[in-house]
Amino acid sequence: MHLPVRLAGVALLVAAVATPGAAQHAPVPPSTWAITGARIEPVSGPAIAKGTIVIRDGLIVAVGANVAAPADARLIDGSGMTVYPGLIDAAGSLGFPSGNAGGGGGGGGGGAASRATAPNSNYGPGMQAELRAVDQLDPSATAFTAARGAGVTAALTAPAAGIFRGTSALIALRDAPVGELVIRDGIAQHIGFSRGGGGGFGGGGGYPGSLMGVFAQLRQELLDAQHYRDLQAAYARNPRGMVRPDHDPTLAALQPVIAGTQPVVLFANSEREIIRALDLAAEFGLRPIIAGGTEAWKVADRIKAANAPVLLSIDFPRKSAGGGAAAGRGGRSGADSTPEPLRVLRDRVDQPKGAGRLAAAGVRVAFVSGNDYGELPANLRRAVEGGLDKAAALRAMTLEPATLFGVADRLGTIEAGKIANLTLVTGDLFEAGGKVSQVFIDGERYEIPAAATPAAQAPRRAPASAEDDQAAGTDDHDHPAR
C-alpha cells in the first residue's frame, strides 16, 4: 500500500524501513526528488549558479538551470546549498566485518583486516589473491555512517591486511544488502607490503616475517603465476602426451594481473616504498596504482613515467595536542622535551602541497580519506590551500576515481542517466563553514545530523535545518538508521 507522494507542504512522511516483511505495513520512501534553486557543480561542465536536479528510481533524470520539477517529485529547497556529485573515497576497507561492534565515529565500521581464507588454496593466509571483497563484505548497521557524514557516497573497498589482499570492489554506502551495494566488482588486485604482525629476528609468525620476505614472496608468487600461464597455454595447445597441470585458484586469479589487464593497487607512502612498488610492477609488467602516496610528490616524475595514478591519502598529519596528558617523547611534563626531527616538521608542511605538486607533474590523483572522515572537509581545504585548484580537488573525489575504477560512464558527475549519488553542502565544501547536510546514494536520501561538538550534542531526531524540507514542522527521516 503506497501513500501517494504529493508536492511538499502536504505530505507527511513517516520513517519507513523497506524490509521485505514490513512491505505491506510500512510506507515506501519517495523515489522521485527535485533539488531546486541550488548551486550545482556537475564536474562534467561549468557550475550552474542556480539550478534543479531531478532524480527518480536511483538515477539522475535531469539537471540544469531551467529544469522543472515533475509533479510527483518530493522537493528540496537548495537555496544556500551547493550540490556536488557524490564523493568517492578512492581506497579503504569499509564494510568488512570488524572485530568490535560497530559504533559510528571516525573510522567507520570497516578498516578491519579480513580474516577470511580461501578454501582449497595452495597459498597461505595473506597471500590468497583469489579472495574477493564482494564475498567478504558484511557491513554493520553503522559501518557507513561516518563516511556519509563527510559526504562520501561510494568507496573502493578491500581488506586492510595481507600481502595479496584480493580484488577490491566499488560500493555504494547505503544501508542495504550487499548485493545492492556493489557498483563494480574486481576493480584491482590489492597488494600491501606489510605482514601486520611478527617479523624480525625470530619472527613470531610464519614466513614471510620481514619486509624482505614479503618482497621475495611477491616475486615468487608472480613468477609462479607466469609459469602457470605457460603451463596452461602449453596444455591447451597440445594436451595429448602432456601431464595435466594442476588447477591453482590463486595463480588463476593472478592471470589478469600479470597480463596487465587488471591493475594492482600498491600501498606505498614513503619515497622508497613507492620506488620499490614501481620497481616491482616494472619487473613483472603490472599496471600499478599507488595508494597512500604521502611522499609521492617527491617522485612525481617517476610515477608519471610509470603512468601510475595515485590514490592520495589526504589524511594530513597534524601535531597532536600532546600537552602533558599523553606520555610524550622524553616523558617530561610541561616544557618541550626532545625537539621533533626536521623530517617530521617538513612532512607536516609538505604533505598538503603534495596533491598540487603531483597534478602539476601530470599525475592523475584521486583522494583517499584515510578513514578520518571527521577531518575530510578540512583536509580538502588544506589540499586546495596547498596548491591544488578547487576544480581538480573536486574532481579528485568524483570523476577521477570514477574514471580510474572504470565507471565514469555511470558515476562521478551530475549528468542525466547517471547514478543518483549527490552530496549536498550548506555553503561550499571548500570554504570554511561548509557543512554536509545530506547525501543521496542510488537516489536514497540520508540526512546528516549537525556535527557533534562537546557543547552541542544535537539530539538525533532534530531536523537538520529549516530550509531543508518544505514539509514544515515535520520530524522527517526518510531513511532511518536501524
Binding site: 606489510s194 625470530g202 620481514s210 624482505m212 616475486r219 598529519p317 608542511v349
Partner: protein, 467 residues
C-alpha cells in the same frame, strides 16, 4: 637467469634514472698520500677527474673547472670499506625459515638513514650490507657506496658481485628459546635446527636441492637445444637460484661464525660441494685454524678487540688478525654496528698495537682487503690511478685517535665536508624555526573538539625507519 646486479641495472634504466654526470674535477695538493698498496707519498698531488683518480704526482696542473684543495699537513687515504653492516635497511632478518636465500637486502634499503652521513663523517665510503644471523642460510647482500642524498638504486656499487649470508652457531640455534607455550593453544612450531649438527644438515640439504634444481634446468635446455617442441621451462625457484650461483662461483658466501670447529665444518662442506667460502665473518677463533682457512682460500672479517659477549665469542684474542694475516689469510676489520662504522680507523690502529702490523697492513684491513673480499678490488680500496675517486682527506694520520676526516669523496664528488657541515647548521636552525611556526606544526587550539591528530601514517606504511 639474471643476476641481481643486471636486473637492478635494467630497472634503473627502466625507471628513467639518468646516469649521474661525473663530478667536476678536484686537485688535492701537498698531501701525505697513504696509497696503501704503494706506500706513503709525502707532499704529493692527487687529481680526481671523471669520477676517477686521474693522476698522482707532484706539481700537477689543475684542469679547467677544477677546485684546488691545499692539503698541506693533511692526509689522503682511500675511503674505508666496511665488510659487515646492517645500516640503512628496513629489515635485517627473515628468520622464520632456516633457509631464506630468496630474500634480498636490496629490496629494503633505506637511503635516508642519517647514519649514512655519520659514517661518511668517519671516512667510510663503502658498506657490505648483510642479512642478519638468524638462520643458517640467510638472504642476499647489497654492496653500496654511501652516496647520501641519492636513491637506493644509485647507491648500489656498480658491478659488485652478488653475495649471500650464512650463519652458524648460537644465534641460529637460540632461535627457539624464548618461545611462549600456552597450555591449550596451538604450540608455536620450533624452527629446525636446534644444534650445530642440524646447521650442517641444512646446508647439505639446501645444496643438494640446488644441484637437483640446476640439473632440471640443464635437462630443459638440452631438450630445447635438441629441438623439442611444446616444452615449458621448470618453475623458477628463487630460494635455489642463489645457491646454484654459489656452486658456480658467481655468488660470494659471507659466513657468520665464531668457533673453530664450525668454521672447519663449513670449509670442508664447501670443498665437498666445490665452492670457496669468500669470508668468515667475526671468526674470533680463526687464529686456531689459520692454515686451514688459508688453504681453503677464504678470508676473514672480524673485530679488533670485541669479544666475550656470548659463550662462542669467549675464546678470542686481539692478535687474531695478526695471526691470520701472517698465515696468508686476507683479513679485514668490520663494524657490524652503525657506531663502529664511523671509527674503523681506530680499530685498525689497534692492530698495530696487537700483533705489530705495519701502518699499511693495518690500513689494508679497512680498505684494499675489504675491496678484494667484496670482489671490487680493481675499483676501490687504494689510491692508484684509474681507480674510483673514493678518497678521504684527514686532518691527521688516520691511525691516530686525534684525527678525523675533513672531506669525503665518492666517485670524485664530495658527500661530506666539515666546513660545509658547519655552514649548513645556521641554515638548518633557520629552517627549523620557520617550520615550527607553520600552522600544521602548531599544537591545535582547544576549540577544535579536542581532535588534534597525531601524525600517524596510514596503517599500511609500517616500514618507515623510526629513529
Amino acid at each position: 637467469m639474471k643476476t641481481l646486479a643486471t636486473l637492478v641495472a635494467s630497472l634503473v634504466v627502466a625507471s628513467g634514472v639518468a646516469a649521474q654526470a661525473p663530478a667536476p674535477p678536484t686537485l688535492i695538493t701537498h698531501a701525505t698520500v697513504l696509497t696503501v698498496t704503494n706506500g706513503t707519498l709525502t707532499d704529493t698531488d692527487v687529481l680526481l677527474q671523471g669520477g676517477k683518480i686521474a693522476a698522482i704526482g707532484t706539481g700537477l696542473r689543475a684542469p679547467a673547472g677544477a677546485t684546488t684543495i691545499d692539503a698541506t699537513g693533511q692526509y689522503l687515504m682511500p675511503g674505508i670499506i666496511d665488510p659487515h653492516s646492517h645500516m640503512m635497511s628496513d629489515a635485517t632478518n627473515e628468520g622464520s625459515l632456516s633457509v631464506t636465500s630468496m630474500v634480498r637486502i636490496a629490496d629494503v634499503l633505506d637511503p635516508t638513514d642519517t647514519h649514512i652521513y655519520d659514517a661518511l663523517a668517519g671516512g667510510t665510503t663503502t658498506l657490505n650490507i648483510l642479512h642478519g644471523s638468524a638462520n643458517t642460510i640467510g638472504g642476499q647482500n647489497a654492496v653500496v657506496k654511501l652516496k647520501y642524498g641519492r636513491t637506493a638504486a644509485e647507491m648500489l656499487f656498480p658491478g659488485a658481485p652478488p653475495g649471500i649470508k650464512f650463519a652458524l652457531g648460537e644465534n641460529v640455534t637460540r632461535k627457539n628459546s624464548g618461545r611462549v607455550i600456552v597450555v591449550g593453544q596451538p604450540q608455536p612450531q620450533p624452527r629446525y635446527p636446534s644444534s650445530r649438527m642440524g646447521q650442517e644438515e641444512v646446508l647439505r640439504d639446501a645444496f643438494t636441492r640446488a644441484i637437483d634444481y640446476r640439473r632440471s634446468w640443464e635437462d630443459y635446455r638440452a631438450r630445447v637445444a635438441k629441438g623439442e617442441k611444446n616444452l615449458v621451462a621448470p618453475r623458477r625457484d628463487l630460494e635455489l637460484e642463489p645457491l646454484v650461483e654459489v656452486l658456480e662461483g658467481t655468488r660470494l658466501v659471507h659466513a657468520h661464525s665464531y668457533r673453530a670447529d664450525e668454521m672447519l665444518m663449513l670449509l670442508e662442506l664447501a670443498d665437498e660441494f666445490g665452492f670457496t667460502v669468500q669470508t668468515l665473518q667475526h671468526a674470533l677463533e680463526a687464529y686456531k685454524i689459520a692454515p686451514e682457512i688459508a688453504r681453503h682460500g677464504a678470508g676473514i672479517s672480524t673485530f679488533a678487540d670485541m669479544w666475550g659477549y656470548k659463550i662462542e665469542a669467549y675464546d678470542a684474542i686481539p692478535y687474531n688478525v695478526a695471526v691470520t694475516m701472517r698465515a696468508g689469510v686476507l683479513s679485514t676489520i668490520n663494524s657490524d654496528d652503525d657506531g663502529r662504522a664511523r671509527r674503523l680507523n681506530i680499530d685498525a690502529a689497534k692492530l698495530v698495537r696487537y700483533g705489530g702490523l705495519t701502518d699499511d697492513e693495518a690500513l689494508a684491513t679497512i680498505t684494499i682487503n675489504g675491496a678484494k673480499q667484496l670482489g671490487v678490488g680493481d675499483r676501490v680500496g687504494s689510491i692508484e690511478v684509474g681507480k674510483d675517486a673514493d678518497v678521504v682527506l684527514w686532518n691527521g694520520h688516520p691511525l691516530s685517535v686525534y684525527s678525523h676526516p675533513l672531506t669525503t669523496f665518492i666517485d670524485g664528488e664530495i658527500f661530506f665536508d666539515v666546513e660545509r657541515d658547519k655552514a649548513k647548521r645556521a641554515a638548518l636552525e633557520a629552517e627549523r624555526a620557520e617550520l615550527e611556526a607553520a600552522e600544521p606544526n602548531k599544537v591545535p587550539t582547544p576549540s577544535r573538539g579536542g581532535a588534534g591528530r597525531g601524525a600517524t601514517p596510514p596503517a599500511d606504511s609500517t616500514w618507515e625507519s623510526r629513529r
